[in-house]
């Protein structure tokens, strides 16, 4: 060892951060596993342990063992019920990394909490009981994890001590799980046999699983590469706050949602389509040569262009989708059922606008992943829904960009967060997208003063240009806003 405290701090300050989600059934020993991680990584203080021993005697469920679960079950009512009912965040760190754990319940009616805990996670630990194997709940949790776009999954086959550390049993569960996730989008899976209660393969590899040659859980968490998880290719900068301290300074503050930006970059303001170049990347700690997601910066531009909160700056050669009509996978989080006549508030990046549900295409049975017919959604249901917004959204598909593809839906009466959505497809005829590789032209009809009556002709020109290899996109004027979104969906709604 022999590190001085200064050396230790210098080293520690450079660690990165891994956010993880844990999911499992009530009896899978999830809280015990988290308690074990906190305990064994030496981040538990003595007095917390003393309080724990005191509480274990009073309300513990673990017999003679220390009830690690009590570390995580904070609120009074939950202690009485003996189950975790909301998302609880836990923190620990090792020599390699800092970790934030979102501990979420496995209980059926609390899908919404798991979605809440998982939205920012890099990695999910899904627990199964080695005796029970892959059960309905495992499938549901895995499906939710894949919906959220979490790229790394650990299948923690727990309670191996109760199946005599049987390799056959572990392989059986692993194969069943691999089969199950084949159609889901989970690029990185690690299966680990462990016993949270007795500590096997949690921090150190266990002598009781000599047939297992993979990493222990903590080792995997410390080393899994998360560098590819953030989209660094599409620069998206939703303006959060316009900074105008005096007449000489006008900056656009925000968090870089994705991508990288440098002074001199050609950028387009959306939805206006106006172009400029980045002049400076301003921060309290001095100007930067480049900045990347998820840094918070203030950008100044070469030209005076009109830009306010809710609008975006993007690279001119790599534009997102701009439109009013889209489909999204929606998770309903409210006790009140979806009401299609309501004019919800939809918050997406820094923009809040009114939104209507145009159509519910289907709901997904989270246990079987089958599509079922549905007119609306209710609490904890997931479905594919078409929306129309009153202001255009500047977005990407969620699978391409977790930051610009997600939104929340707010009830206009109760202000509760009724639902969350992940955009799958644009439905806008006017939607335009313009790939980085198709270096191209945007014909903004309004900008150029071309009347709406020439739309078809301009479109034809664009089509021709694309055919001969020149990227081109037509942006019509705003007149299309007044027309009904799509044939067959001319239902009336009111604000």
């Amino acid at each position: 060892m022999g590190l001085s405290i200064e050396e230790f701090l210098a080293q520690d300050e450079r660690k990165d951060l891994l956010r993880l989600l844990t999911a499992g059934s009530v009896d899978d020993g999830k809280s015990t596993l988290i308690g074990r991680l906190l305990f064994d990584s030496k981040r538990l203080y003595e007095d917390q342990l003393q309080a724990l021993e005191r509480d274990s005697k009073r309300v513990g469920n673990a017999g003679d063992h220390i009830d690690y679960a009590l570390l995580c079950d904070g609120l009074k009512a939950e202690r009485e019920q003996g189950i975790t009912i909301d998302v609880a965040y836990r923190y620990f760190s090792t020599n390699r990394r800092k970790f934030i754990i979102a501990d979420t319940p496995g209980h059926e009616q609390y899908t919404r909490n798991m979605i809440t805990g998982g939205s920012t996670a890099n990695l999910a630990i899904i627990l199964v009981d080695a005796r029970a194997g892959v059960v309905t709940q495992t499938r549901r949790h895995t499906f939710l994890v894949s919906l959220l776009g979490i790229r790394h999954v650990v299948l923690a086959v727990n309670k191996m001590d109760l199946v005599d550390f049987s390799q056959e049993r572990f392989n059986e569960i692993r194969e069943a799980y691999r089969e199950f996730i084949r159609p889901l989008n989970i690029p990185d899976l690690q299966c680990i046999p462990l016993s949270a209660l007795e500590g096997d393969n949690v921090v150190d590899r266990s002598a009781r699983t000599p047939w297992y040659d993979g990493p222990a859980l903590l080792e995997f968490l410390e080393t899994v590469s998360i560098d590819q998880d953030i989209n660094m290719k599409d620069f998206r900068f939703p303006v959060q706050y316009v900074s105008r301290p005096d007449l000489n300074f006008r900056g656009f503050s925000g968090k870089i949602a994705s991508g990288v930006v440098r002074p001199g970059d050609r950028v387009t303001a959306l939805p206006s389509g106006k172009e400029s170049r980045v002049k400076r990347i301003v921060t309290y700690d001095g100007d930067l040569d480049y900045a990347f997601a998820p840094q918070c910066v203030t950008l100044t531009l070469e030209d005076e262009i009109d830009l306010s909160r809710g609008e975006s700056l993007v690279h001119s050669d790599n534009l997102p989708i701009v439109g009013h009509h889209f489909q999204a996978i929606v998770v309903w989080m409210d006790e009140e059922d979806m009401d299609r006549n309501k004019a919800f508030f939809l918050k997406h990046t820094t923009r809040t606008t009114r939104a209507h549900v145009r159509e519910t295409h289907y709901r997904v049975d989270v246990n079987t992943m089958e599509r079922k017919e549905a007119e609306w959604l209710k609490l904890n249901e997931i479905g594919l829904v078409s929306f129309t917004t009153s202001d255009p959204l500047i977005y990407d598909r969620y699978r391409d960009n977790r930051q610009t593809g997600a939104f929340i839906l707010i009830d206009p009466v109760t202000n509760f967060t009724s639902a969350v959505g992940m955009i799958t497809e644009p439905e806008d005829d006017a939607a335009f997208r313009h790939k980085a590789d198709g270096q191209g032209i945007i014909i903004d009809m309004k900008e150029l003063g071309i009347g709406e009556e020439h739309h078809e002709a301009v479109e034809r020109v664009c089509e021709y240009l694309r055919r001969i290899g020149i990227g081109a996109t037509c942006v019509p004027g705003r007149a299309e806003e007044e027309t009904s979104p799509k044939e067959g969906t001319t239902k009336k709604w009111h604000y």
């Binding site: 660690k15 990165d16 560098d227």
Partner: protein
């Protein structure tokens, strides 16, 4: 070669700045609660960073229980002046004039009247619709479950059973008249993160955090510092000089000191890494009853 990886401190900083700007952009009358402690000092620095080169667009407010350490008040006034802060100081005048204090009324009554009620009155007086607090989720169990944007009804109460889902970094800021949101930009910071950040950013903090010879009395296992003569005579005369420091700061009769030689941030961190007590054990207020913090939070305490 450019790398696109943030250290955990820079990642936490970015998350907090985003939260602070979001409040400034979406609320009519935000305020930042300033407790003079180390977490508050970090939060204030993050606010300065969020709006640089502009000025922070909301006031700071300190709820003075009238029992804070004298050094805290001196630090507050000097700091506010130096940084040109728009600082509001409020206290429960009626209770203060009635002589409420921890020695005469006990910690429970004192905390309720001089902290919780004083805060509620001040929030009402200025009709603040959002109030930043420096609480961290690693401090205490009930905090671990609280959202970053935590809704309060018109009675300023928290309902842990009915929290708004909070996803990605999209925060629901909508409230009706009279309702408000408590915002915790440091939710995901740990005590160690705070110290590392103070060190890295050279953020000034109250000297009470550093070890020094101070007059203390042992009361129920806590080392209480003699800060003025409102401490009853029979306690005061038992005071001895010991080298102590404070891990958290609050009302002096309710804040225990720890014996320590740590007089630099490096030594404090070193002590923390090897210590066996978590920071809230030095807060007398937590021991009133089981789940006491959750109870206080439901009633409107930060």
């Amino acid at each position: 070669m450019e790398t696109y990886r943030l250290s955990h401190l820079k990642a936490l900083e970015a998350e907090s700045i985003h939260i602070i700007r979001e409040v400034a952009a979406e609320f009519q009358r935000p305020v930042m609660l300033y407790s003079i402690g180390k977490d508050s000092s970090v939060m204030v620095r993050l606010a300065e960073k969020a709006f640089y080169p502009g000025k922070v667009p909301f006031p700071l407010m300190h709820i003075d229980s009238k029992w804070k350490f004298k050094e805290m008040i001196a630090f507050r006034d000097a700091y506010a002046k130096e940084h040109n802060w728009d600082l509001i100081v409020e206290y429960n005048k009626k209770a203060y004039e009635a002589g409420v204090g921890p020695f005469t009324h006990g910690s429970k009554v004192h905390t309720d009247l001089m902290k919780t009620q004083a805060l509620l009155m001040a929030l009402k007086k200025y009709r603040f619709d959002a109030a930043f607090g420096g609480a961290r989720r690693d401090e205490e169990k009930s905090r671990a479950k609280e959202r970053i944007f935590s809704f309060r009804n018109e009675f300023q109460q928290w309902d842990p059973k009915n929290q708004r889902p909070e996803l990605w970094d999209i925060y629901n800021t909508r409230v009706n008249e009279g309702e408000s949101i408590r915002v915790f930009p440091l939710s995901n910071w740990t005590e160690l993160d705070i110290w590392q950040y103070i060190r890295q950013e050279k953020i000034p903090i109250v000297p009470l955090y550093f070890a020094k010879e101070r007059p203390v009395v042992e009361v129920n296992g806590n080392l209480i510092m003699v800060d003025d003569d409102r401490m009853p005579e029979e306690l005061r005369k038992k005071a001895t000089m010991r080298k102590v420091r404070f891990r958290t700061l609050g009302c002096y009769p309710l804040t225990g000191a720890v014996e320590s030689d740590a007089d630099t941030i490096e030594k404090i961190v070193e002590e923390m890494m090897t210590t066996t007590k978590s920071e809230r054990t030095t807060r007398v207020i937590d021991f009133d009853q089981d789940s006491s913090m959750e109870q206080k939070k439901r009633e409107g305490y930060f």
